[in-house]
């Protein structure tokens, strides 16, 4: 299976002898181009058009992150799965308010179901989360079906999430970190910094997978399509954030793999240090590579593959073959 290359060092990324090489002052390192799915660039990396052409030929995406770990943008090579048909279908489902609401509701449903699954997991491991489980269940059973507009749906999802984030203090009760509500742009405590960075990774991973399908990342359903950004990846990421980003966060903090020293403070803002980012990325990749038995396919699949499968389900929904149901974790 192809892998993701995370570059933290600074140097030059180049095409060298028909493969990818990174040159730093001390050394040159080769990365097998046939095995690279995408590249996440965190260091100060130079590159030229020659390497972009080469990446385009090999259908490799490059995602850039700022010094503070914020998403900067992607090199999205020329689309190789061009499908006007799929774009029309996507637009059709966006333009029809009923169809759009239906899809948006599905994404929120997936997000809440998976949040519930995470809460239940820790509840069964001796953390008293019954209050939160009951609250999220209420959101799912009564608030979700009563939402009649996208705005209501967004507001409801936001409320459910802020409720959910409070539970982090119970799940991580004996760790040195506490969360006082969700803060972003910038995050004001280490847990918020972790949530933000983890979510960013999920967004970008989903974007990479969208490139490998016929879908157009510009048309989202829960997140309004606008002139500025990709939105479909944000929609699909909602479903996976609890089981990928949050579960990895609990592992890292719970096992003491991150300490207060792994965060940099900049005024009231808190960011992950490079070492902290490396640790998170490593655990995140381990999670994505881990496999489980897929009941419907009757074979083992990794979470990485699961992201792609979710997009295929969405394609099927859009072309009217099968109603989309979000992935819900069972453990």
């Amino acid at each position: 299976m192809k892998r993701t290359l995370y570059l933290f060092r600074s140097g030059r990324l180049r095409r060298k002898e028909n493969t990818l090489a990174v040159e730093t002052e001390e050394q040159r390192r080769y990365f097998p181009v046939e095995n690279v799915r995408d590249i996440f660039v965190f260091g100060e990396v130079d590159l030229n058009k020659e390497v972009l052409e080469f990446l385009c030929d090999n259908e490799i995406l490059v995602h850039f992150f700022s010094y503070y770990g914020h998403y900067v943008g992607s090199f999205y090579p020329r689309e190789h799965y061009n499908s006007g048909y799929m774009v029309l279908k996507q637009a059709e489902h966006y333009m029809d308010p009923a169809k759009r609401l239906n899809l948006a509701r599905r994404f929120v449903e997936g997000a809440l179901e998976n949040i519930l699954q995470v809460l239940r997991y820790y509840h069964h491991r001796g953390k008293d989360l019954s209050e939160y489980v009951a609250a999220i269940e209420r959101f799912l059973k009564s608030a979700l079906p009563s939402c009649q507009t996208i705005e209501e749906l967004m507001a409801m999802e936001g409320n459910a999430r802020s409720y959910y984030y409070e539970s982090f203090n119970i799940i991580l009760e004996d760790s040195p970190f506490r969360i006082e509500g969700r803060s972003k742009k910038p995050p004001t405590d280490p847990l918020n910094a972790l949530i933000s960075f983890g979510n960013t990774l999920v967004y970008v991973k989903v974007l990479s997978e969208i490139y490998k399908t016929h879908l157009d990342p510009r048309i989202g359903y829960l997140h309004a399509t606008n002139f500025r950004r990709f939105t479909l990846n944000l929609d699909v990421a909602e479903v996976f954030k609890p089981i990928l980003a949050d579960r990895v966060l609990f592992t890292l903090v719970g096992r003491r793999m991150l300490s207060p020293g792994d965060f940099d403070r900049c005024g009231s803002a808190v960011f992950l240090s490079e070492r902290g980012r490396r640790t998170l990325v490593e655990e995140f990749e381990r999670k994505l590579q881990s496999t489980f038995h897929h009941r419907r396919l009757k074979r083992n699949v990794s979470y990485q593959t699961l992201l792609r499968l979710e997009l295929y389900k969405l394609e099927k929904h859009l072309i009217g073959e099968e109603e989309y149901t979000p992935f819900v974790s069972r453990w």
Binding site: Y6, T19, V22, R29, P32, E34, N35, R278, V281, E285
Partner: protein, 87 residues
């Protein structure tokens, strides 16, 4: 599948073999590369190498492992290269 490639070829073709192998596998040390491949990329690799080596003189060995579950790898001395995705 996990593949370990070991080559012993005439010095005239060493660079060519290395250049091709680096497109698919991680360099470990002189004349040794390894990495995860799919059936298709493994075939492509063998085909490409077949084009440059002299079958009467050169030797390229592939150790093919179904997976790495029951393998361990021990190192004595200097670590020269290997598989790294976070760098």
């Amino acid at each position: 599948m996990y593949v370990i490639l070991v080559y012993d070829v005439n010095v005239a073709r060493v660079a060519k073999v290395l250049k091709i192998a680096r497109k698919y596998l991680h360099w470990v040390q002189n004349s040794v590369l390894e990495g995860e491949l799919t059936e298709a990329t493994f075939r492509k690799l063998k085909h490409e190498l077949g084009q440059v080596i002299d079958v009467k003189e050169d030797s390229v060995l592939f150790y093919v492992l179904g997976n790495q579950r029951y393998t361990t790898r021990e190192l004595l001395g200097v670590k020269k290269g290997g598989e790294e995705w976070i760098w």
